[in-house]
């Protein structure tokens, strides 16, 4: 093991920003699309988290300042059913230089109390004593999409074809590419059942209904159809929905497919509220930057659902929301920002009306992106081989989570640069910094041949658990400071008195949708992990001696208390889809239920809608099984009581008789029943 040249390594630094944010604003700023083309985006969407008891509404508003730069904070539409939220998505406005943003946000969280966040329509959310803050920062919003003066209020009309005496249910969806003009969503009288769709990436229309992007209501859709007839391209263009890179300009969209499954017709009267994420937010497959857009989207759905209820003369309506997204990282203990934020919202709403949330379990079983190392006391684990691909044009991230209660002072964590496949680890490239007693993130650069090619950080999650994050620059040549591709290795020594279990997750790093980002997925490359069975199939079982695991590959965003975690099944004997992620037995959350995706070997994927009316397409993944279970829940949600649901309506769903049995061995991936 070659020691780092001490002359080349500056001392580690500390920041109040989270490690991803520190990378995006720091050494990684040239590698993320957030950094590109920022000239016209003086607004960013960020988020604030309070660990203790939430934010107090005030009537004053104070801009924040640091280093001579001043910015104002604004919240998008927020649900008034949560007057003192712990988690607030906010926009920061008025900062021209990206570097100033990072410094401002850092200062924001170090000072005694953050400034108020202006709410639409007046007033502000101020901090509460004892708040501690973590945040994910920096998704740029285009100047022409932001309308800070917006009131955020909207009026939705009732559909005269709806029978108020029969149950009425709202379905909410957050996805990419929502084809609100698709005729499949028409109700009786050929009026759309899409009552509100927030196109977050669109230029604003000055109507003041949303603070960024544009809202398209059911009435808007009716007007657009009168103006453009059957030409759906013209409708989307006129509505401003053809945002750069949107799936709506193509034939196949993730959001078309999932909403199609969620809205499949039934006897229940259904109204649709949708959020179309900005296409650029889906390009970073690690999920960074998308959290706050989703949280803002959830608040919007909750707010508009209440507006819809009022239009029908009710105080509230039962609702099922589906979000077919996820990421690989996170502690998988339900405590991450977004998970806790969703829990807060849903638990508050359930007090008044039954509210369900379906999330996919993930498609990462076979991707070798998860590993578990059990390290004895005063011992070193076998180096964990991590293959970083050549020609990767995006950053690469890997997290290592320490168990609850373990201090990093007893752990030594080292990153080795590429070495031979059959041989010892390559030269050491970084050693983790020590923890900051004040809870700041500490970081040290990862060096290779005299250049900074990455960042190794240590931070404490809001749950109290410690996390190492290894961030690497792209490996594609021609990019300044590109990292070397090859077999990196992670070495950890446990200097404490007891054995410990460390969990590793590599973040998703693939090109998704229409954004060709040049992403290439790194993976754990252990000889002991037998990826193929004796008869040549991909092995869906863990190898006993390997650290790389299939169990635990669950969606890192889906482990909160309130979602139903949905897996995917294949063929009529209801086996799990090959890629379907698996939870650990005994973990806080496991897969609840699943739905059939690939009916036979020849019919790969499940049929649902395309963007344009009149066609269908097959797509695979737990993304498509999640709304299928959501649709089943939609049909029974009106009959559920208000109040907390300890199992998120899973028993009620099983009682419908629509779910087939699951063998015990498949339960970690299929839950307790398969919707056929």
């Amino acid at each position: 093991m070659t020691a780092m040249n001490p002359d080349m390594s500056p001392p580690p630094t500390a920041t109040a920003l989270g490690p991803y944010t520190a990378w995006m604003y720091g050494p990684g700023n040239a590698y993320d699309f957030f950094a590109a083309d920022r000239g016209r985006a003086p607004h960013v969407l960020s988020g604030v988290v309070g660990r203790a008891g939430g934010h107090v509404p005030t009537s004053s508003r104070t801009p924040i300042s640091a280093g001579g730069v001043t910015a104002s904070l604004y919240a998008p539409t927020m649900w008034d059913g949560l007057p003192s939220p712990c988690f607030v998505p906010f926009m920061m406005s008025g900062v021209e230089a990206r570097s100033a943003e990072g410094a401002l946000l850092d200062a924001l969280w170090r000072t005694a109390g953050p400034a108020d966040v202006a709410l639409p329509g007046g007033g502000g959310l101020g901090p509460k004593a004892g708040d501690e803050t973590f945040m994910n920062a920096g998704f740029p919003l285009r100047e022409d999409s932001v309308d800070l003066a917006a009131s955020g209020a909207s009026t939705l009309s009732a559909d005269p074809a709806v029978d108020p005496k029969k149950p009425l249910v709202v379905i909410g969806i957050i996805d990419d590419g929502i084809p609100f003009a698709n005729r499949a969503f028409d109700g009786l009288g050929r009026r759309t059942r899409v009552d509100a769709c927030w196109v977050q990436g669109a230029a604003h229309d000055g109507s003041g209904r949303v603070r960024f992007g544009r809202e398209v209501t059911g009435d808007d859709i009716t007007s657009l159809r009168q103006a453009h007839g059957v030409d759906e391209d013209a409708i989307y263009r006129a509505a401003g929905a053809l945002v750069d890179g949107t799936s709506l300009s193509g034939d196949i969209a993730h959001g078309a497919h999932t909403l199609g499954a969620l809205a499949e017709s039934s006897d229940v009267q259904v109204r649709i509220i949708a959020v179309d994420l900005p296409p650029a937010s889906t390009w970073d497959a690690s999920g960074y930057g998308r959290d706050m857009l989703m949280l803002a989207g959830m608040h919007y759905i909750f707010d508009r659902a209440d507006k819809l209820a009022a239009a029908y003369g009710k105080t509230t309506l039962p609702m099922v929301v589906n979000i077919s997204y996820g990421y690989s990282g996170g502690a998988h203990d339900g405590q991450s920002t977004l998970e806790a934020a969703f829990d807060e919202l849903i638990e508050a709403r359930r007090a008044k009306a039954p509210t369900g949330l379906t999330l996919p379990s993930g498609n990462m079983l076979l991707d070798a992106m998860h590993a578990v190392a059990e390290v004895a006391s005063c011992a070193e684990m076998d180096p964990l081989p991590w293959r970083v691909q050549p020609s990767d044009r995006t950053s690469t991230f890997m997290e290592c989570w320490l168990p609850e209660g373990l201090s990093p002072d007893t752990v030594s964590f080292r990153v080795h640069g590429p070495g031979p496949t059959y041989g010892p680890p390559g030269p050491e490239a970084a050693t983790a910094p020590v923890a900051d007693p004040g809870g700041l993130t500490t970081m040290t650069p990862i060096f290779w041949q005299g250049k900074t090619v990455g960042q190794l950080s240590l931070d404490q999650d809001r749950s109290g658990r410690w996390r190492y994050l290894v961030a690497l620059a792209p490996t594609e040549s021609g990019i300044d400071g590109h990292a070397p591709a090859g077999l990196w290795k992670i070495a950890v020594t446990n200097n404490g008195p007891a054995a410990q279990v460390l969990r590793f997750w590599i973040q998703r790093d693939i090109s998704y949708g229409h954004g060709e980002t040049g992403a290439r997925q790194s993976y754990f490359d252990e000889a002991a992990n037998a990826r193929v069975t004796r008869d040549g199939r991909l092995s869906e079982d863990d190898s006993p001696d390997a650290m790389t695991r299939r169990a635990g590959s669950l969606n890192g965003m889906a482990t909160g208390a309130t979602p139903l975690i949905v897996g995917a099944a294949r063929d009529r004997s209801a086996r799990a889809e090959m890629y379907g992620s698996a939870s650990y037995a005994g973990d806080a959350r496991e897969v609840d239920l699943s739905a059939m995706v690939s009916a036979t070997e020849a019919e790969v994927g499940r049929l649902s809608l395309t963007v344009r009316s009149g066609s269908r397409v097959r797509l695979s993944g737990t993304s498509v099984s999640s709304p299928a279970v959501g649709a089943t829940l939609r049909d029974i949600i009106a009959a559920q009581p208000a109040g907390a649901s300890s199992d998120n309506y899973a028993a009620a769903l099983m009682a419908t008789g629509l779910f087939g049995p699951v063998e015990q061995k498949d339960a970690p991936r299929l839950g307790r029943g398969v919707r056929t």
């Binding site: 070798a368 293959r387 691909q389 050549p390 040549s477 890629y579």
Partner: protein, 360 residues
């Protein structure tokens, strides 16, 4: 080790459909590497002209009307032989033979046990050191790591097994009806590289990666010649360098000349890198090929000028275990080896002038 890409692996095969369209752009048919040596095909041209086959019969029957007079030499006008004008008249393969013969007049070599010295006009042009077995073994890791790109690059790798003209034509905006001589210049460059690189390949006789490590399993057939230097890297770098000189020679033609040159060299890098992805070359083969290709292209461009040039002799000792990236190569200077002289070549100058003239 290959990653598992499931259904995504099939996407690499779709590349085949788009890439082969440009192979029809070859201005010279038959001038591909060794195919130019396939004998006297000129006579077969007669088969396409039915009149010629009939000439035996016509000669007997009709020639009497042409009279009995002898031919007057003073009335004969000769073909223009100034500045190799007559190149215009020759069949494509014939021009190919002329370029090759002209090149071989000056190209020489002196082999040794652990290196080979390539010369031009008797002076050192490039000295290549032979890599050690220890270095080759270390280089295997790069090939191992690049295996994950095979699904992505498969279409390109197969498309790049023949003429490389198509891969540069779309960067330079070339079309056959307008740029026939430019395409000929590209094919010529590629052909001369084939001749030139076969000599160090022969004398250095470096074993291919799959002959050292059975786990690499190249995705195409390992070619029947030595590994070091890489022929593709030689050709690709030579074509890029020649075309970069073309861009510089016609500054009014391209509004974005600097960007085009960057694309040319990035393409050269990719073509060479694809061979490592395929599993048939070590990265150092590409570095050596880049050195040789760059010298050949410098020779071609210098041969086209009216006044002689003195070019710097180069040398490359493959001792470091590095990957091949264009930026790193451009920054390398293993050592100069004196200078060598390049004088004007009539045929090359003719072609260069015609090629430049096909741009505004």
């Amino acid at each position: 080790m290959s990653g598992f890409q499931g259904l995504q692996g099939l996407q690499g095969l779709q590349g085949l459909q788009g890439l082969q369209g440009l192979q029809g752009l070859q201005g010279l048919q038959g001038l591909q590497g060794l195919q130019g040596l396939q004998g006297l095909q000129g006579l077969q041209g007669l088969a396409g002209h039915p009149g010629a086959a009939n000439s035996q019969t016509s000669a007997v029957s009709i020639r009497h009307v042409a009279g009995q007079d002898p031919i007057d030499p003073t009335k004969i006008t000769e073909d223009d032989r100034t500045n190799d004008q007559q190149m215009e008249y020759w069949a494509d393969p014939i021009r190919g033979f002329i370029y090759v013969a002209d090149f071989l007049k000056n190209y020489g070599w002196t082999p040794a046990d652990d290196h080979i010295t390539l010369s031009w006009g008797g002076k050192t042009m490039l000295k290549l050191g032979r890599p050690s077995l220890e270095l080759l073994v270390k280089q295997l890791d790069y090939i191992d790591n690049y295996m994950d790109l095979r699904a992505d690059r498969g279409g390109e790798i197969i498309g790049q097994m023949g003429s490389l003209a198509g891969d540069y034509a779309y960067i330079m905006g070339l079309t056959p009806s307008r740029h026939g001589r430019v395409l000929e210049l590209i094919d010529l460059t590629q052909t001369l590289c084939s001749f030139a690189v076969s000599i160090p390949k022969h004398y250095l006789t470096v074993r291919r990666p799959d002959q050292l490590d059975g786990r690499l399993m190249p995705m195409i057939q390992t070619p029947g010649h030595g590994s070091f230097p890489s022929g593709h890297a030689t050709q690709a770098m030579a074509i890029a360098t020649v075309l970069a000189a073309v861009v510089d020679a016609v500054p009014e033609h391209f509004p974005d000349g600097e960007a085009r040159k960057k694309l040319l060299f990035k393409q050269a890098e990719r073509i060479a890198q694809n061979r490592t992805v395929a599993g048939v070359h070590y990265p150092i083969d590409s570095i050596a090929g880049a050195y040789l290709g760059r010298e050949i292209s410098r020779i071609i461009v210098a041969s086209a000028q009216a006044t002689p040039s003195a070019l710097g002799g180069q040398s490359y000792n493959a001792t470091e275990n590095v990957d091949y990236f264009y930026d790193d190569f451009a920054a390398m200077s293993d050592g100069q080896n004196g200078t060598y002289d390049v004088t004007r070549s009539g045929p090359i100058a003719w072609l260069w002038g015609k090629a430049i003239g096909q741009f505004i």
